[in-house]
Amino acid sequence: MDYIIEMCNITKKFPGVIANDDVTLRLKKGEIHALLGENGAGKSTLMSILFGMYQPDQGVIKKNGEVVKINDPNDANRLGIGMVHQHFKLVQNFTVLENIILGVETTKHGMLKMDEARARVLELSERYGLRVDPDALIEDITVSMQQRVEILKMLYRSNEILIFDEPTAVLTPQEIEELMKIMKGLVSEGKSILFITHKLNEIKAVADRCTVLRKGKCIGTVDVASVSKEELSEMMVGRKVDLIVEKENKEPGKVIFEVENLTVKDRATGKNVVNNVSLNVRAGEIVCIAGVDGNGQSELVYALTGLITPDDGKIRLNGNDITKASIRQRNIGGIGHIPEDRQRYGLVLDYNLAYNLVLQSYFTPRFQKHGFLKYSEIYKYADELIDKFDIRSGQGARTITRSMSGGNQQKAIIAREIDRDPDLLIAVQPTRGLDVGAIEYIYKKLIAERNKGRGILLVSLELDEVMNVSDRILVIYEGEIVAELDPKTTTVQELGLYMAGSKRGIVA
């Protein structure tokens, strides 16, 4: 069988790292080819090279056996290569149809010929089972619908090679299943798909072959049918990993954190983004708020930690009303917060590691006297934490945080928040974007804190995480808690139905 795209011996270097080291990837016509690797393994770089956003230092790209040069995404488009980016590139206040034809509009005397375009879009959407409403505005449709628009964009441009960059990260289990069907349909119509992911289940479900990258090197290409998930995972990480968390049973203690009828309104629309939420967290338990991204989790956490003021409701920590307390009062009062966006909220990236490690405690008598900072004490403490939490960086405590890897930045935040010994730890997507090794580490830390009798409120989008780590699951949908579930008795499918809003349980 012929290869439609070959990337031969691609090497790409960046300052201090070799992102791709002699990587070869061959895509057959009509197959789904998965590209598997941890974060920083070089998947994105490789795809960026194929899409013309970077130039390789060495190696060539061939299409149908002929060497081609791809200087920019327009070249890629001309060669029939299309890409669904992880973060969609859609104009929010344009309609579906307008977004699809954007850049390749057919015109007559400078006027748009929408009718032809509409007919073609409808025909495509029929043929590939991609249901969309061509006149809906992007801002009004769901994420999975937006993804379909992205796919239609590629099809409208008659692309033959479709790149999907982590397409399932934003979808519910049911939507993922549907996407898999769509992908299979596309392949049966003769398209070829490159599927970037680090989720093994999905590879097993759809991919024909899989190329594994680790630290920029190509580990190998395998037939998916002939390998097990464990083998794939070992190829990806380079060692055996066990993400099934060992967790002893523990009877939770007294309630330490209570939220009553909390409501947050959106400033622009006046809609309740957090709608009458009540919950509690007891000592020694991990309560997980599960939900698809954008269902009010972020706002809920902002309200709990004081970043925004709730419009209604009460928050109590250890029996004290903290609804009106300042952020600093809450931090001192016993709330630790691992924020969702570690670079925006969690760290001052241009500060060095030591400064970031004392970001929540620089004002305590230990680190300042009469308003002057005690630098020797700060660096001593930083070295202790670096040691205790195994934070790796180029120049130790004096490393500028921006230059550290995502995993180590996250470790720094975790070290800072856990070491303050909070009664309640709010962890929002603590493993987002991290590789398997770091995820394992974070789970262990969270469970250790739980075993010490701290309350943990975990906000997560990852189903495996929700099922494995938590003691109790609260499902959030459109700002409301729609179900309270026990991970031991719930199935992933059931959880998915609640998350998608198609099922409601008794509200706790």
Partner: protein
């Protein structure tokens, strides 16, 4: 070039210094070009004057320190606010209200004895300047009004208000300017006039330069050593993270704008209490010292100690520029040259990137390309 020299050249401090130096040299060369165009025969003489004019005699050197005093303070003002992430373009207004407060106290409050008189005048100037910084600070902190806009408005309000106040309180109608301050309100010379003089003609230098330098050192300590400095820089570098960490960003922004205003106000006081015969003229012109603080802060790259040297350097060019008039250059040309050099100084940061990438290139290919983890595709983020 061997590796260790390259590593040395690409280090932070050296890159800072070298980039400022590069900005200065390129500015000077462009200045020379303008001289060649405007008056080719005298161009080299004129260029010599601007380069060495400040050193020709002790009086000129004294004048350098005299001119440096106010712009060091406005430079500190701009640089300090910048640490908190605010662009204080209002130094001009803060400067002039400070100057008025000082002159008013200097003329009217003659009941104050000796050193207390000028001391109180300086304090009142700082308070007035702080008030002028406080208003944009409050508007920013509580109503998110862009500091640049409110500062520009405060500049005009300050200028016209001072014109009105001078006319109504301490007006010398013959000269259309403020009256001379009492001798007790003049900043002491501390014997500097005996060192920096040419024959019988002393320079205008006075203890103000020491006050400016001490202010620079204090600002350095606040920024680098204190808890407040820590909060200030955190707010400037990442407002969201500082909010997350419980830092009261409203308070931080307001206080930093007040301190910035106080510095500019002090600059205004030191200029008009220098005893050089300069008075506040009733003109519809914004005080240029305020705007000169911006290039001084840039050239000093925000470092308070760097700003002290940058201020002295700009003053040195100014004094050299006066000497150019000996060679038949009209004052406007002099001002263009100084402006060009200052303009290029704003490129200091650009040169810094250039120097670092250039010398680091062979070693580890520090190019402008973002590393893979920040690739625009963002697959892994």
């Amino acid at each position: 070039m061997n590796i260790s020299i390259k590593r040395f050249l690409s280090s932070e401090g050296v890159a800072n210094f070298a980039s400022s130096l590069m900005a200065i040299i390129i500015g000077l060369l462009v200045g020379l070009l303008i001289l060649l165009v405007s008056n080719p025969r005298q161009a080299l003489n004129g260029f010599g004057a601007i380069l060495f004019g400040g050193f020709t005699d002790m009086k000129n050197l004294g004048q350098v320190f005299y001119f440096a005093t106010p712009i060091i303070l406005t430079g500190l003002s701009v640089g300090f606010a910048n640490k908190a992430g605010q662009f204080n373009i209002g130094a001009s207004g803060q400067f002039i209200v400070g100057a008025f407060a000082a002159v008013y106290v200097g003329v009217k409050w003659t009941f104050l004895p000796g050193a207390l008189h000028w001391g109180v005048a300086l304090i009142m100037a700082m308070l007035a300047g702080a008030l002028w910084g406080l208003i944009p600070g409050i508007l920013k902190a509580f109503y998110n009004v862009n500091v640049v806009i409110s500062c520009i408005m405060m500049n005009y309000i300050g200028m016209y208000l001072v014109n009105v106040l001078v006319t109504n309180t301490v007006f010398d109608s013959l000269k259309n300017q403020s009256q001379r301050v009492a001798s007790t309100a003049v900043i002491p010379k501390m014997g500097l006039d005996n060192i920096f003089r040419a024959g019988n003609s002393p320079s205008s230098v006075n203890a103000g330069i020491f006050i400016a330098i001490i202010a620079g050192i204090i600002i350095y300590i606040i920024v680098e050593k204190t808890q407040f400095g820590f909060e200030l820089k955190a707010c400037g570098l990442n407002p969201d993270a500082s909010k997350y960490a419980g830092i009261n960003s409203h308070r931080t922004i307001i206080i930093s704008m007040m301190i910035a205003g106080a510095l500019s106000g002090l600059g205004g006081a030191l200029l008009y209490l220098a005893g050089s015969g300069k008075s506040i003229e009733v003109l519809d012109v914004l005080a240029p010292e305020g705007f000169n603080g911006i290039p001084v802060a840039l050239l000093g790259q925000g470092n308070p100690i760097g700003i002290i040297f940058a201020g002295i350097f700009v003053a040195y060019l100014t004094v050299g520029g006066f000497n150019m008039q000996l060679f038949n250059f009209v004052p406007q040309v002099t001002e263009i040259i100084i402006a060009v050099i200052i303009y290029f100084s704003a490129f200091a940061l650009l040169f810094k990137d250039f120097i670092r990438s250039h010398y680091a290139k062979d070693e580890d290919k520090l190019t402008k390309t973002r590393p893979v983890s920040q690739g625009s595709l963002g697959g892994d983020k």
